[in-house]
């Protein structure tokens, strides 16, 4: 019988670790899983172990020379200077022991999710260890070594010959995936992110629409710093609905970076838990409307791993399983188990307290600017319909 959803996880996924003080920390996976188990939403039967991607599979999205460099660097055979042109050995993406093996496992995890969905073993699949959307063909960037989504999309094309819609709600632009499929009319990328005026990677302008045959299959929705929930969700809902209807994908991959929250140290979007309750709901609905349910969700950014990510990511799994959106107090045993590890006091409920922060002075103007941006970004679709 087809399962509703599978949860891809192996403890080895936590091996993707740069250092104890590095902001990218996959302890998030453990915290999320434990939270879901504590509310009885996740059982061991739901969990499918990760697998390691082969070199051939990784090469679907990456240069062989680059793969070789990552291997050697992780085995202590190269100095940071020798890796410089590959973007590794930097403060963002330092060298760590067995970095190839750890990265290949995250890619394999997403491929595992793909196979479960595309072979009809499960309607949906979640790999929170994936979503490393900044990885480039021959270069690491922004904490990302291999780009599991890029590899997974190529894998879907080769093995299952399907049209893929990639939706990226990480606060940073999904540049690696966008550029990989910029010329490809059979892959549509959609990214909603804080404008690149200040934030990394600086790209993701509305004018980036694809190239050649792929023109019109890249969509970017750069939103302003201090966007807040309402404007974020307005943009998300309209963008995603219209692009689904325009592109009509066979399968959807969502990248669920959880770094648009007010608490996130790297970004300035001022979102709250509300956006993380809503994002998976619409993705789920549209996956059923257009893709016969075929929905693969991966993780991504999220740098407040204590107060934000576990709650935000839990909502994806409960939504996949048609469980009611958790609300009210968080399980006491979970709070007690982890509070002593956390440098900050937990928010003890699924919802954020209101208000979470002081009102933003130029709210109306920011919303107006975002709405204007949405019109520009969707212009190409709306014109066609007229």
């Amino acid at each position: 019988m087809m399962k509703n959803a599978v949860f891809i996880y192996s403890p080895e996924q936590l091996g993707y670790k740069f250092s104890d003080s590095h902001p990218f920390n996959h302890k998030r996976l453990l915290l999320t899983m434990d939270l879901l188990k504590s509310i009885g939403a996740l059982s061991d039967d739901d969990i499918i172990p990760a697998r390691v991607a082969t070199d051939e599979e990784i090469a679907l999205g990456h240069d062989v020379k680059y793969i070789d460099t990552v291997k050697k660097a992780g085995h202590g055979l190269l100095t940071p200077q020798q890796c410089e042109m590959y973007g590794i050995g930097t403060e963002d993406t330092p060298i760590f022991t067995n970095m190839h093996e750890a990265s290949a496992l995250l890619v394999g995890s997403t491929l595992q999710a793909v196979d479960y969905v595309m072979q009809g073993k499960s309607r949906h699949a979640l790999n929170l260890g994936g979503g490393l959307h900044h990885g480039f063909h021959g270069r690491a960037s922004g904490f990302c070594i291999y780009n599991d989504s890029t590899v997974a999309i190529r894998y879907i094309q080769e093995k299952y010959n399907a049209r893929v819609l990639y939706i990226d709600t990480d606060a940073h632009h999904g540049d690696g995936v966008q550029w990989a499929f910029y010329d490809d009319p059979n892959v549509c990328t959609l990214s909603i992110h804080e404008t690149g005026r200040y934030l990394f990677p600086g790209t993701g302008n509305v004018t980036e629409r694809g190239n050649g045959q792929g023109y019109g299959t890249s969509f970017n929705f750069p939103i302003d710093a201090f966007t807040e929930d309402e404007s974020f969700l307005m943009i998300y809902e309209q963008a995603v609905r219209e692009v689904f209807d325009y592109f009509k994908p066979d399968v959807v991959i969502t990248q669920n970076g959880a770094d648009a929250h007010y608490f996130d140290p790297l970004t300035h979007l001022y979102g709250t838990m509300k956006i993380y309750q809503e994002i998976p709901k619409l993705a789920h609905k549209l996956a059923h409307d257009y893709c016969d349910g075929k929905w693969i969700a991966v993780g991504g950014g999220g740098y407040d791993i204590w107060r934000v990510v576990p709650r935000a990511w839990s909502f994806i799994w409960t939504e996949m399983n048609d469980l009611p959106c958790p609300s009210g107090p968080l399980p006491t045993q979970w709070l007690e188990r982890w509070q002593s590890h956390s440098p900050v006091p937990f928010i003890p409920t699924w919802e954020d307290p209101t208000p979470l922060y002081e009102p933003i002075p130029r709210k109306a103007e920011i919303e107006e600017k975002n709405a204007q941006m949405l019109m520009k970004a969707l212009h190409i679709i709306r014109n066609e319909h007229r």
Binding site: E91, G202, R362
Partner: protein
């Protein structure tokens, strides 16, 4: 940067003996707004702009004899237009275009037409200078307008082995004694750099949105 590096070298031009009709067709076909006029040795003798053509064209409903369309360009072109040299700096050219309120400059050497620069090319250069051509974050820092500051700031970036892609210095609209430094740096996590800059007493604006203080 000099004009030679950004000018269009494949220039579409016409002869003085070509007609208004030829000019309209070529502009339409190549989607351009300016046509230098050269003699048969490629010496620049004039220029025609889309704006000039619009001014002389009668309504298409009235001109049955097509007199205007068959007029030769030597009768209507601007003779001895302003020109630039391949070695001119981009700043010079920008100033000329701005002050003369024109939108294009033929580039001439030895009397011959070798290129053309328009405001669009200058805007593209601006986009390249200020934009993110590589994945990067931008940090704005408000600094006192005095010597040595840039070096102190550069030390912090060096310490973090962060690759700086561009640096812009512009006046602070609110304070004549300070400047805003806008630095594009190849890093996703600028927090450690920002922390160190603040420790050194620098006023980091990140992000910098007037009316909103973090």
């Amino acid at each position: 940067m000099i004009i030679e590096e950004i000018m269009n070298k494949d220039v579409y031009s016409l002869l003085p003996s070509n007609t208004v009709k030829d000019a309209i067709q070529l502009m339409k076909e190549k989607q351009i707004r300016h046509l230098p006029i050269v003699d048969n040795r490629n010496f620049l003798v004039g220029i025609i702009t889309q704006h000039d053509l619009k001014n002389i064209l009668p309504s298409s409903l009235h001109d049955h004899e097509q007199i205007t369309y068959n007029t030769t360009l030597d009768k209507i072109m601007i003779k001895d237009p302003l020109i630039g040299h391949p070695l001119d700096s981009i700043e010079d050219i920008a100033l000329t275009l701005y002050e003369s309120k024109i939108s294009c400059l033929p580039i001439v050497t030895g009397g011959k037409l070798v290129g053309i620069v328009t405001t669009t090319d200058l805007l593209y250069t601006y986009i390249e200078l200020t934009g993110a051509n590589k994945p990067s974050s931008k940090i704005d820092i408000k600094v006192t307008d005095k010597p040595g500051i840039l070096s102190n700031i550069a030390e912090v970036f060096k310490k973090h082995k962060a690759n700086v892609l561009s640096v812009l210095v512009y006046p602070d609209a609110d304070d004549a004694n300070s400047k805003i430094l806008s630095i594009r740096v190849q890093i996703i996590n600028p927090l450690l750099i920002i922390e160190d800059l603040r420790k050194e007493g620098f006023h980091v604006l990140w992000p910098n949105l007037p009316g909103i203080e973090l």
